[in-house]
């Protein structure tokens, strides 16, 4: 069994939200904020995913914390760090496609899918492992819904 560590208190996030484009993903505050947000998502999904794959022991308390963290992350208003001029056509190393700013309403609808899927996970995560294994699919689907149209292909 792998051991996992948990970053608790998922809402304690301090995001710099100044909207300017300086040409580098690693120093642009808006880009750094949203990439950090994605890392927190990945960290908590990994806890649940490891349990779903049965490579990590199913731990109800830990799973509930991870699911609650996802709910907290999905409740954050991200508007400020999806600022104009921070797409991959403007900043090197960014994967966000310009289509985001061309279809911001749809993008936000896709992101809201993460809130719905996270809430569903948080509701069933304590039931049993099978419930986690079922709900993790919808989490993956919610992420992919954004990545399908709005994230640059990996090289």
């Amino acid at each position: 069994m792998k051991s996992v560590t948990l970053l608790a208190g998922g809402t304690a996030l301090a995001f710099g939200t100044m909207a300017f484009s300086d040409g580098h993903a690693d120093v642009n505050p808006a880009v750094k904020a949203r990439q950090s947000h994605m890392q927190l998502y990945a960290h908590n999904i990994a806890i649940l995913g490891g349990m779903a794959q049965e490579s990590v022991e199913y731990d109800v308390a830990l799973a509930q914390i991870a699911a609650d963290n996802l709910v907290a992350l999905a409740s954050i208003n991200e508007t400020a760090y999806w600022s104009e001029g921070t797409g991959n056509n403007m900043i090197e190393g960014v994967k966000a496609l310009p289509a985001i700013w061309e279809n911001m309403d749809d993008f936000m609808v896709k992101k809201d899918g993460m809130r719905v899927a996270s809430a569903a996970m948080a509701e069933v995560v304590g039931t049993d492992l099978a419930s986690v294994q079922g709900a993790i699919r919808d989490l993956g689907g919610a992420c992919s819904a954004s990545h399908r149209e709005y994230r640059q292909r990996d090289n």
């Binding site: 990945a42 990994a46 779903a52 794959q53 819904a145 990545h147 994230r151 640059q152 292909r153 090289n155």
Partner: protein, 210 residues
Amino acid sequence: VVGIAVAYSVTATQPLAPERLEIGRIGSATDGSLDFAASGCGSCHSYDGTDALDLIAYLRTLPSDATPSRAHDVDFPFNIGWSLGGWKFLFAGTGWVVQDVATPELERGRYLVEAIGHCAECHTPRNALGGLKRGEWMQGAANPSGEGRIPSLHPDDLGWSGGDIAYYLDTGFTPGFDTVGVQMVDVVENISQLDDADRDAIAAYLLALD
């Protein structure tokens, strides 16, 4: 890129005739005409006959749409029927790439990857004439429809376990719990509907590539 081959409309009002599927499967229609493969791929040569008929049966259940099929928009010489026949003679229907399938699982994986899934159509680079470079099988290719590259699925490059591959194809999650993106979202959506044994077979095939 020499142009765009437009997929045929295959709805109930414009049903896919069996001979159309034969175009994909054997390289020419039963009436002798030549055209681009019905599914746009040269990997359909090894379709099991029953699967081909099942595909037709499914396509005939799709909602009707009277919109006529659009013409292909391809450059010379691909806009000439006989040249397309030459292309198919050279590059389509040339048989299995992986010859040594020692187990039923590997054989099933080969069928799913090389034929039904036609994974190589994106994941294998092409030569100047658009034929797949079979010597660089599944080793990644330029993205024909935009920026970036289609990644290599060769085990030396991918570095995933069989369980990782099967789980990705089931849920869309990578080993690091990123999720599938762009066109692969649709691929995973479909492969997730297969049973576990089929995803394991795909993984076994990919891990066995030389």
